[in-house]
Protein backbone atom coordinates (compact mmCIF):
# COMPACT_ATOMS: atom_id res chain seq x y z
CA UNK A 1 0.00 0.00 0.00
CA UNK A 2 2.70 2.46 0.99
CA UNK A 3 4.92 1.82 -2.03
CA UNK A 4 2.36 2.62 -4.75
CA UNK A 5 1.64 6.31 -5.26
CA UNK A 6 -2.04 5.55 -5.91
CA UNK A 7 -2.53 4.02 -2.47
CA UNK A 8 0.33 5.47 -0.46
CA UNK A 9 -1.71 8.23 1.19
CA UNK A 10 -4.43 5.92 2.53
CA UNK A 11 -4.23 6.03 6.33
CA UNK A 12 -3.32 2.58 7.61
CA UNK A 13 -3.66 1.70 11.28
CA UNK A 14 -2.23 -1.60 12.40
CA UNK A 15 -4.64 -3.19 14.85
CA UNK A 16 -3.05 -6.30 16.16
CA UNK A 17 -2.56 -8.49 19.17
CA UNK A 18 1.13 -8.73 18.40
CA UNK A 19 3.33 -7.25 21.07
CA UNK A 20 6.49 -8.16 19.23
CA UNK A 21 8.86 -5.29 18.97
CA UNK A 22 9.93 -6.26 15.48
CA UNK A 23 6.35 -5.93 14.25
CA UNK A 24 6.13 -2.44 15.72
CA UNK A 25 9.46 -1.46 14.21
CA UNK A 26 8.64 -2.91 10.81
CA UNK A 27 5.15 -1.46 10.87
CA UNK A 28 6.46 2.05 11.39
CA UNK A 29 9.30 1.63 8.94
CA UNK A 30 6.88 0.52 6.25
CA UNK A 31 4.86 3.66 6.83
CA UNK A 32 1.95 2.58 9.05
CA UNK A 33 0.19 5.75 10.22
CA UNK A 34 -0.50 4.32 13.64
CA UNK A 35 -0.07 1.10 15.61
CA UNK A 36 -2.55 -0.16 18.17
CA UNK A 37 -2.32 -3.25 20.30
CA UNK A 38 -5.67 -4.94 20.73
CA UNK A 39 -6.62 -5.08 24.40
CA UNK A 40 -7.70 -8.54 25.57
CA UNK A 41 -10.47 -7.07 27.72
CA UNK A 42 -13.74 -6.74 25.81
CA UNK A 43 -14.74 -3.31 27.16
CA UNK A 44 -11.29 -1.89 26.58
CA UNK A 45 -11.29 -3.33 23.07
CA UNK A 46 -14.62 -1.68 22.34
CA UNK A 47 -13.41 1.63 23.75
CA UNK A 48 -10.20 1.57 21.71
CA UNK A 49 -12.04 0.80 18.49
CA UNK A 50 -14.51 3.62 19.18
CA UNK A 51 -11.70 6.09 19.73
CA UNK A 52 -9.90 4.81 16.67
CA UNK A 53 -13.00 5.40 14.56
CA UNK A 54 -13.58 8.83 16.07
CA UNK A 55 -10.01 9.92 15.51
CA UNK A 56 -9.59 8.74 11.93
CA UNK A 57 -13.08 9.57 10.69
CA UNK A 58 -13.76 12.80 12.57
CA UNK A 59 -10.55 14.38 13.81
CA UNK A 60 -8.21 13.42 10.99
CA UNK A 61 -8.51 15.14 7.64
CA UNK A 62 -8.38 12.37 5.05
CA UNK A 63 -6.20 12.68 1.97
CA UNK A 64 -8.08 14.40 -0.85
CA UNK A 65 -8.59 12.59 -4.15
CA UNK A 66 -5.60 14.36 -5.63
CA UNK A 67 -3.36 12.43 -3.24
CA UNK A 68 -4.08 9.19 -5.05
CA UNK A 69 -3.17 10.21 -8.56
CA UNK A 70 0.15 9.72 -10.19
CA UNK A 71 1.65 6.72 -11.79
CA UNK A 72 1.62 3.43 -9.98
CA UNK A 73 4.43 0.96 -10.43
CA UNK A 74 3.02 0.06 -13.84
CA UNK A 75 2.38 3.67 -14.80
CA UNK A 76 -1.39 3.13 -14.75
CA UNK A 77 -3.86 5.82 -13.80
CA UNK A 78 -6.55 5.39 -11.21
Amino acid sequence: VKSDSRTKAIPVVILTSSKEEKDLVNGYHLGANSYIQKPVDFDQFREIVKQLGLYWLVVNEPPPNGAFSGPGPSGGKR
Binding site: A9, I36, V59, N60
Partner: protein, 152 residues
Protein backbone atom coordinates in the same frame (compact mmCIF):
# COMPACT_ATOMS: atom_id res chain seq x y z
CA UNK B 1 8.43 11.24 38.70
CA UNK B 2 9.77 11.78 35.27
CA UNK B 3 8.72 14.82 33.32
CA UNK B 4 9.32 13.73 29.80
CA UNK B 5 8.64 16.13 27.02
CA UNK B 6 6.36 13.91 25.06
CA UNK B 7 4.76 16.44 22.76
CA UNK B 8 6.73 18.81 20.58
CA UNK B 9 4.49 21.68 19.57
CA UNK B 10 5.83 23.54 16.55
CA UNK B 11 3.81 26.70 16.28
CA UNK B 12 4.70 30.31 15.51
CA UNK B 13 1.35 31.86 16.38
CA UNK B 14 1.42 32.74 20.08
CA UNK B 15 -2.38 32.73 20.25
CA UNK B 16 -2.51 29.17 18.95
CA UNK B 17 0.26 28.13 21.36
CA UNK B 18 -1.80 29.50 24.25
CA UNK B 19 -4.94 27.76 23.05
CA UNK B 20 -3.15 24.45 22.61
CA UNK B 21 -1.47 24.59 26.01
CA UNK B 22 -4.75 25.62 27.56
CA UNK B 23 -6.45 22.62 25.99
CA UNK B 24 -3.83 20.30 27.44
CA UNK B 25 -3.77 21.90 30.86
CA UNK B 26 -5.48 19.78 33.44
CA UNK B 27 -4.82 16.65 31.42
CA UNK B 28 -1.89 14.33 32.03
CA UNK B 29 -0.10 15.83 29.06
CA UNK B 30 -0.11 19.46 30.15
CA UNK B 31 3.38 19.57 31.57
CA UNK B 32 4.94 17.43 28.94
CA UNK B 33 4.82 19.82 26.04
CA UNK B 34 7.82 21.59 24.59
CA UNK B 35 7.08 24.54 22.33
CA UNK B 36 9.25 25.86 19.50
CA UNK B 37 8.30 28.75 17.28
CA UNK B 38 9.89 27.93 13.94
CA UNK B 39 10.98 25.05 11.72
CA UNK B 40 14.66 25.46 12.42
CA UNK B 41 14.18 25.17 16.17
CA UNK B 42 12.00 22.10 15.58
CA UNK B 43 14.80 20.45 13.61
CA UNK B 44 17.37 21.42 16.26
CA UNK B 45 15.17 19.82 18.91
CA UNK B 46 14.51 16.62 16.96
CA UNK B 47 18.08 16.26 15.71
CA UNK B 48 19.53 17.05 19.14
CA UNK B 49 21.75 19.89 17.99
CA UNK B 50 22.40 23.54 18.74
CA UNK B 51 20.61 24.53 21.95
CA UNK B 52 19.33 20.94 22.19
CA UNK B 53 22.66 19.16 21.86
CA UNK B 54 22.18 17.60 25.30
CA UNK B 55 19.03 15.82 24.12
CA UNK B 56 19.20 12.21 23.01
CA UNK B 57 17.84 10.53 19.90
CA UNK B 58 16.89 7.74 22.28
CA UNK B 59 14.21 9.95 23.81
CA UNK B 60 12.14 11.23 20.93
CA UNK B 61 8.80 12.91 21.54
CA UNK B 62 5.79 10.63 21.21
CA UNK B 63 4.06 13.23 19.10
CA UNK B 64 5.08 16.20 17.01
CA UNK B 65 2.22 18.64 16.45
CA UNK B 66 3.42 20.55 13.42
CA UNK B 67 2.07 23.77 12.02
CA UNK B 68 2.89 23.99 8.32
CA UNK B 69 3.29 27.71 7.80
CA UNK B 70 6.44 28.38 9.77
CA UNK B 71 9.27 30.91 9.78
CA UNK B 72 12.80 29.87 8.72
CA UNK B 73 12.01 26.32 7.70
CA UNK B 74 8.59 25.42 6.35
CA UNK B 75 6.60 22.65 8.06
CA UNK B 76 6.60 20.32 5.08
CA UNK B 77 10.39 20.64 4.87
CA UNK B 78 10.64 19.80 8.57
CA UNK B 79 8.53 16.71 7.88
CA UNK B 80 10.69 15.75 4.89
CA UNK B 81 13.86 15.94 6.97
CA UNK B 82 12.32 13.91 9.80
CA UNK B 83 11.31 11.19 7.35
CA UNK B 84 14.65 10.93 5.59
CA UNK B 85 16.79 10.25 8.65
CA UNK B 86 16.52 6.79 10.23
CA UNK B 87 17.03 8.30 13.69
CA UNK B 88 13.84 10.35 13.40
CA UNK B 89 11.95 8.67 10.57
CA UNK B 90 9.32 6.89 12.67
CA UNK B 91 8.43 9.72 15.07
CA UNK B 92 4.65 10.29 14.86
CA UNK B 93 4.06 13.65 13.20
CA UNK B 94 0.63 15.25 12.99
CA UNK B 95 0.06 18.34 10.90
CA UNK B 96 -1.96 20.84 12.91
CA UNK B 97 -2.65 23.72 10.64
CA UNK B 98 -5.16 26.21 9.41
CA UNK B 99 -4.03 25.53 5.87
CA UNK B 100 -6.88 24.05 3.91
CA UNK B 101 -4.84 24.14 0.74
CA UNK B 102 -5.38 20.79 -0.89
CA UNK B 103 -1.78 20.85 -2.08
CA UNK B 104 -0.52 20.92 1.52
CA UNK B 105 -2.70 17.99 2.55
CA UNK B 106 -1.58 15.97 -0.46
CA UNK B 107 2.09 16.81 0.02
CA UNK B 108 1.81 16.08 3.74
CA UNK B 109 0.49 12.59 3.10
CA UNK B 110 3.00 11.97 0.32
CA UNK B 111 5.84 12.88 2.65
CA UNK B 112 4.51 10.42 5.22
CA UNK B 113 2.63 12.54 7.73
CA UNK B 114 0.88 10.28 10.25
CA UNK B 115 -2.22 12.42 10.40
CA UNK B 116 -3.52 15.80 9.30
CA UNK B 117 -5.75 18.01 11.42
CA UNK B 118 -7.35 21.32 10.51
CA UNK B 119 -7.38 23.84 13.31
CA UNK B 120 -11.00 24.67 14.00
CA UNK B 121 -11.70 28.39 14.28
CA UNK B 122 -14.17 27.82 17.11
CA UNK B 123 -12.47 27.80 20.51
CA UNK B 124 -14.36 24.86 21.99
CA UNK B 125 -13.82 22.76 18.90
CA UNK B 126 -10.13 23.70 18.90
CA UNK B 127 -9.77 22.56 22.50
CA UNK B 128 -11.63 19.33 21.82
CA UNK B 129 -9.46 18.55 18.76
CA UNK B 130 -6.24 19.08 20.70
CA UNK B 131 -7.44 16.90 23.57
CA UNK B 132 -8.50 14.11 21.27
CA UNK B 133 -5.29 14.24 19.32
CA UNK B 134 -3.17 14.12 22.47
CA UNK B 135 -5.24 11.30 23.89
CA UNK B 136 -5.05 9.29 20.70
CA UNK B 137 -1.32 9.65 20.14
CA UNK B 138 -0.21 9.38 23.75
CA UNK B 139 -2.63 6.83 25.12
CA UNK B 140 -4.01 4.76 22.29
CA UNK B 141 -1.27 4.67 19.74
CA UNK B 142 1.68 2.45 20.54
CA UNK B 143 4.72 4.63 19.89
CA UNK B 144 7.69 3.27 17.95
CA UNK B 145 10.13 1.47 20.26
CA UNK B 146 13.74 2.58 20.50
CA UNK B 147 14.80 -0.03 17.98
CA UNK B 148 12.80 1.87 15.37
CA UNK B 149 15.21 4.80 15.62
CA UNK B 150 18.35 2.81 15.04
CA UNK B 151 17.80 2.22 11.36
CA UNK B 152 17.39 -1.17 9.83
Amino acid sequence: MKEEQEILLVEDNSGDVELTLHALRGSDFGRRVHVVGDGEAALDFLFCRGPYSSRSFERPPKLVLLDLKLPKVDGLEVLRQIRTDPRTKTIPVVAFTSSQAEGDVIEGYRLGINSYIYKPTDFDEFREMVKQAAQYWLQINQPPPLAAFRGQ
